[in-house]
Symmetry: C2
Subunit: 212 residues, 2 copies
Amino acid sequence: MTENLNEERIATFLDALASSAPTPGGGSVAGISGAMAAGLVSMVCSLTIGKKQFADIEEEVRGIHDRAEGLRRELQALAQADIEVFGRLSAAYKLPRTTDADAATRKAAIQQVTRSAAEVPLRIAQAAAALMPLCTSLANRCARLIVSDVGVAAILVRATVQSAILNVEINLAGLEDALFVRETRAQLEDLSVGLGEEAEGILAIVRQRINQ
Amino acid sequence: MTENLNEERIATFLDALASSAPTPGGGSVAGISGAMAAGLVSMVCSLTIGKKQFADIEEEVRGIHDRAEGLRRELQALAQADIEVFGRLSAAYKLPRTTDADAATRKAAIQQVTRSAAEVPLRIAQAAAALMPLCTSLANRCARLIVSDVGVAAILVRATVQSAILNVEINLAGLEDALFVRETRAQLEDLSVGLGEEAEGILAIVRQRINQ
């Protein structure tokens, strides 16, 4: 599976996901889920911009929209990158290991690509986490009718970060570079801290506005 | 937006989501997110079926696969249904209300379609919740290499149920049928109970297997 996700139909993506092919897998799903969160943020901004009653926040909302669209493009590209790095990993595992030299080359290749396989979902987690403050900015101020979309975005941001972290961790488990593993684990820790609370804070505002 | 989701490209879906068109919105996103969870469950089953070391659970895994594929089809159809019901709701709001009789007809139409608009995400939440026991069955027994995919599925199931519930609630807020509202709220409560604990239980197994 090396097709460009951007060229795939959504049902084709879901069919490919469900198949016995190992890609797309959980890493790509995390990327798409983050892209859907970004898309919801952009939609809420688009439905706010140009409305008279929101004129006082229009400039800020335009900024949020552009940031969300940038993160959406990044997340869609990373969903694709996850498929490609898996292909490189499979290729590395298939390298010959008949001689000691071959075995050493193969091992080095596997280590190098596994590191990339950890970095792609790490970047997915970072891009998704950057969406959360945008959800916070919108939750209190968008039209009440679309506040549930901000809530869904926040729920998906949390799910994307958590999913991406699992995909980083499964790759870290196979890495020998202890410094890289330690530094990456510290980054995962930073990404997790406060994520649930931030999402719950947004959801409390959303539920209160839904029922007001 | 009444195109069939199955005919849409994934990037087209994401572009449409991000646009100022109100559909697809949070309800469809919940449906797609649930369908991705189902697709991951199916993939894990497909990568287990036919492997000698999993021969003793093959029959059970075939059953899980078929159940997940049924729920995936249902979730994809519900993502589409959410777009269609929104179209009917917009049409109902545009009905004339110049005479008292017109206003009464319009109000009845809005109430009827708002009820459907609550029922579609309720069915999304129910279909997604039915995936969680399938994740539980697989977490301990699938190959270690793909256990993170079971974890991502469980994370997405929880996110889908929570997202769909927000979409039910925003529609219940506009409904006058107190009995329907009360009964639906009770169903939402049943869907929420234990959901987080079940997901955390799966994730504990997944993390333990990743790091073993």
